[in-house]
């Protein structure tokens, strides 16, 4: 799968009701999740809630956890506070931790683990809380 296809997938997922999408190579493993039946039901987004995008500050590879077998930094529905690590972007063998800049709840993670991201690409949406 090339970068364009991946971007198309991201956009497709982004614009659909699907909140999680996984795909594996080899003998193919596919997993699609819809918001109506989430694994762990996130708090409902109240109408008028302010969703803030977290954008990639660099080009690189997006990772949800610090190591392949470690749990993800955050899950959808998690509350986060400023300075908390949300994910890492690997660029040129360097792991760059991306931190939350506000207090809120992670509403949507838009990029799959291990996928390339370009500058400015929206990684996740956080609902701002006071």
């Amino acid at each position: 799968m090339d970068f364009e296809q991946i971007k198309a997938l991201i956009q497709l997922v982004d614009s659909s009701g699907i909140t999680e999408f996984e795909l594996e190579g080899g003998d193919l493993r596919l997993r699609i999740r819809k918001a109506s039946t989430p694994a762990q039901p996130p708090a409902a987004v109240p109408p008028g809630a302010q969703l803030e995008p977290v954008a990639a500050p660099m080009v690189g590879t997006f990772y949800r956890s610090p190591a392949p077998d470690a749990p993800p930094f955050v899950q959808e529905g998690d509350a986060v506070s400023p300075g908390q690590v949300l994910c890492v972007i690997e660029a040129m063998k360097m792991m760059n931790e991306i931190e939350a800049e506000l207090s809120g709840v992670v509403r949507q993670i838009l990029v799959a683990d291990g996928q390339p991201v370009e500058y400015g690409q929206v990684l996740m949406l956080i609902e701002r809380r006071a």
Partner: protein
């Protein structure tokens, strides 16, 4: 090579994408947030945003560019001209990550980037060089060296290019006055404030020789280009071959360029710049280790695709041409159409191209990234496109260029079209014996600034 990342924007990014397509090589474009709808972004097979509009954060951001190259599976990087094209560190980083940098080695870039050192090497190799100094150590050194060379003198940045950090001084007072500005400009542009002096040759012409060299010691030259039509050290019009040059001088220039390239074991496409004085003496000024903006005039006259050759050479192919195979046919002229009137104090003004009619027909080539509806961003250089005209001889090429300039319509942004049209009508220009002083004198005499 299978997939090349094009580390540039504008017309040169498109030029490289065109060459890659013709070689069946896939392309990865990089773009800043200001270039999301640019043609190089949409024409490449893939495109990766590498940063916000300012070039330092996007087109000069080595880490993001290399990350994009690696993530997209590129095996080569073409830097174009400007931006990172002469950056030895970037070339080294490419090599360290297994990417072919389409240009010479980082060692070549380092050597040739130090203008003073490059001159010393060429002098040693027997190529006549322009009289000048090493790096200036103090104001005393400055004044003494200038006195030895004789005024007027040119103050130049060691790591310079594109006329930045360059100042002309007619006498001691002027020289002392511009010393600090030149150093400050050099520091800001190249993170290196070392400057040196060069004798300023009055009435000299700027003539350069195109070179191609492979990894196996084969070098050819692909003729010369006349580049004397400059404003503030920026070329505005180029020709191939140089007019009013004897066959004997042409042969000597070609031989000197080959000698210079061999002296540094040059690889890939490059250009040796010379100043030619009215008596026919010539002096090496610098070597440009990259593609030149004005390469199309050579392509039209020699029937060679320099960008495709450059990529083939970088991929390790042997040169496909012997010197005997390279013979000129006719004459070509290039006008650089900038988003800026040519006049004292003029500055590019960004805007939207509201109407565009591109000239066509025989002999005309248009290398440009603009289209009707294109918004010219204020962040990058002012080049809108290169209009190139070919004819069986200089006279026919001039006529072809005149009518192409007449056909070209660009509305919505200011352009240099009025300047180019007026120069084409100028009798001294048409006679073909103009020097680097031409535009300054011409602007002083002329009322045309449009």
């Amino acid at each position: 090579m299978r997939r090349i990342l094009v580390a540039n924007r504008g017309e040169v990014a498109l030029r490289i994408i065109r060459a890659c397509r013709e070689l069946s090589i896939e392309t990865v474009a990089i773009y800043s947030e200001a270039d999301r709808t640019a043609l190089h972004t949409t024409q490449a097979d893939e495109a990766v945003c590498v940063g916000p509009a300012p070039a330092e954060q996007s087109y000069l951001h080595m880490q993001n560019i290399l990350a994009a190259a690696l993530i997209c599976g590129a095996d080569g990087v073409h830097p174009g001209y400007g931006f990172l094209s002469e950056n030895a560190l970037f070339a080294e980083m490419c090599a360290a990550h297994g990417l072919v940098f389409i240009g010479p080695s980082s060692q070549h870039l380092e050597l040739l980037g130090d203008k003073a050192r490059a001159k010393a090497v060429m002098e040693e190799a027997g190529v006549p060089v322009i009289p000048g100094s090493g790096v200036i150590s103090s104001r005393t050194d400055l004044v003494e060296t200038a006195a030895e060379l004789g005024y007027p003198v040119l103050l130049k940045a060691r790591s310079g290019g594109g006329g930045k950090g360059m100042r002309l001084a007619q006498d001691r007072t002027e020289l002392l006055r511009v010393f600090d500005t030149a150093r400050a400009e050099a520091r800001a542009s190249f993170q290196d404030d070392a400057v040196y002096l060069e004798k300023c040759l009055l009435g000299a012409r700027h003539i350069e020789v195109q070179l191609l060299a492979d990894n196996y010691g084969n070098v050819v030259h692909v003729g010369e280009r006349e580049c004397s039509l400059q404003h503030r050290y920026q070329k505005l019009l180029e020709e191939c071959p140089a007019p009013q040059i004897s066959a004997e001088l042409r042969a000597r220039l070609g031989a000197a360029a080959l000698q210079g390239a061999r002296a540094v074991n040059y690889r890939g496409a490059g250009t040796m710049e010379f100043l030619v004085d009215p008596a026919g003496n010539f002096y090496f000024v610098e070597m440009n280790p990259r593609l030149q903006v004005e390469h199309p005039v050579t392509e039209l006259v020699y029937g060679v695709d320099l960008v495709k050759e450059q990529i083939r050479l970088a991929a390790g192919e042997p040169l496909r041409y012997s010197q005997a195979m390279l013979s000129p046919r006719g004459h070509a002229i290039e006008c650089r159409i900038n988003a800026e009137a040519v006049a004292p104090g003029s500055r590019p003004i960004p805007g939207v191209v509201e109407k565009l009619i591109v000239p066509g027909g025989p002999g005309v080539r248009w290398d440009s990234h603009i289209y009707q509806g294109y918004s010219v961003p204020p962040f990058y250089d002012a080049l809108l496109g290169k209009l190139i005209a070919w004819g069986e001889d200089r006279q026919e090429a001039l006529r072809c260029m005149e009518r192409a300039l007449q056909e070209l319509v660009i509305e919505g942004v200011q352009t240099s079209l009025a300047f180019h049209r007026a120069v084409l009508r100028d009798e001294r220009f048409r006679a073909g014996s103009y020097s680097t002083d031409f535009v300054r004198q011409w602007l002083a005499e002329s009322e045309i600034v449009g």
